[in-house]
Symmetry: C2
Subunit: 240 residues, 2 copies
DNA sequence: ACAATAGTGTCTATGAGACAATATGGT
DNA sequence: ACCATATTGTCTCATAGACACTATTGT
């Protein structure tokens, strides 16, 4: 926050300011796959990347957005109708070239929401994440932002309770394990998974069971939804 | 990056833009303590927080800064003379009130450097981190930024090789362990520490020893300085 | 009874923690 | 020889991984 030595120091600086945007990487699990919400860029003649798929986001509105997180929530709710997702800041990207309209900075958030009950806007669609990318070519540097978000998600899934936020509030342990396996793209051992999840106090049982064609399963919910749980070890001791 | 629906869409948007700054939390270990570099705010009549201690930082210069990291490096080198620190982005903070000059966004980086050989600028000084704060009251929301940086550092030190970047390029295992202990504020067990560090391939021996009043110690250097090593477990299995 | 999934137990390997023993330099 | 610190070894404990076994529902 120190004034640059070559600058004057008015009460409100008037030198060129970068553009400031917020982008949101919204993940869910649908169709047994990790999916991300993308929107189509508008088609206007002065629009950068017209018609291309992009992450939902846009300029910070200094009149309505109290802070960056509020801006991210506004954009997320506009596209999905979801008001209280798991939301975490991923980081910021800023350079002279990422937006043709000038030096721009974006603060990127990633959100985890359950797929059920989402009412998508018309210009929005779920796309399956393959590796750390999606099939269509993305606008701006959004492919890099998405790859960073997938990397962070996979990395944190190894030792936190994040996948629980991809499920409905009540779930069985088998369902929770399946979400871990989908995100990590590898099978986990049932016994060790259950032991760890229960020992960590991550979930607590609710007095309901999931009925089906076979033995009913105990339903659980997050014990402390407001704070993700961190496990003392990663899931399997593979380095890296 | 989507245009806000209420906006026009010119080639270069002209609605109000937030101020964009970069701040750097520069850590070192000096005098057996974790210390952070602070600078005094200038005294001008229109300056916010005149004379107060603050994190080094300032406005992005869209003409000279290629990207946010380059801006952080420029500010770090200006205060310390250090050109190649360990540098990691911590996140961004942005809201309407953190700077009296208007809606502002700051991208915060944290850097780890060895204390030796640093030539401080006159307005800069090292301050000991106590808990997750420093003794003087800081300008802007910098106390919160510092607390976040200390939290991230302590958290990552539990399972990564980050403390090695606080030392000179060649160090003994005892010196490395001492840095871990200083940052974590608790003693570590020698045997387990050495086993872990050596098993991870974090360091490699150099053909030199540190001579002293007693048995000389083998000197080591980072095996792959460009990428921090992640351990599969935290240092002690205390939850949290 | 049987299919299908839920949930538990047993054995082994790994690595951390605690603590002790040994090694090697200077004085 | 003695001190101080470096380095290694031994024992125990906790937990993950692998795999098998038992439990409980619907049909």
């Amino acid at each position: 926050m120190t004034r640059s030595p070559r600058r004057p120091s008015p009460a409100t600086p008037d030198w060129p300011r970068p553009l400031v945007t917020v982008d949101v990487v919204i993940f869910t699990v649908r169709e047994a796959a990790l999916q991300v919400l993308l929107v189509r860029r508008p088609e206007g003649p002065d629009e950068p990347w017209p018609g291309r798929w992009a992450l939902p986001g846009g300029f910070v509105d200094v009149e309505t957005d109290a802070d960056l997180a509020a801006c991210a929530l506004r954009k997320l709710e506009a596209k999905t109708g979801v008001a209280s997702p798991y939301l975490e800041q991923l980081g910021s990207w800023g350079d002279a070239r990422r937006d043709p309209r000038g030096w721009s900075v974006t603060s990127v958030y990633f959100a985890l929401i359950p797929a059920a009950g989402v009412r998508l806007r018309e210009d929005a669609a779920w796309h399956t994440v393959q590796g750390d990318a999606v099939e269509p070519e993305l606008a701006f540097d959004h492919a890099a932002l998405l790859a960073a978000a997938v990397g962070r998600l996979r990395s944190k899934v190894e030792y936190t309770s994040l996948p629980a936020y991809l499920l409905e509030p009540e779930f069985t342990l088998t369902e929770l394990q399946q979400v871990y396996e989908i995100v990590l793209e590898r099978p986990l051992e049932k016994s060790a998974f259950r032991t760890r999840v229960l020992a960590a106090g991550l979930v607590e049982p609710v007095p309901r069971r999931r009925e089906g064609a076979c033995r009913p399963a105990q339903l659980y919910r997050l014990a402390r939804p407001e704070e993700p749980v961190v496990f003392p070890r990663t899931f399997s001791p593979r380095r890296g």
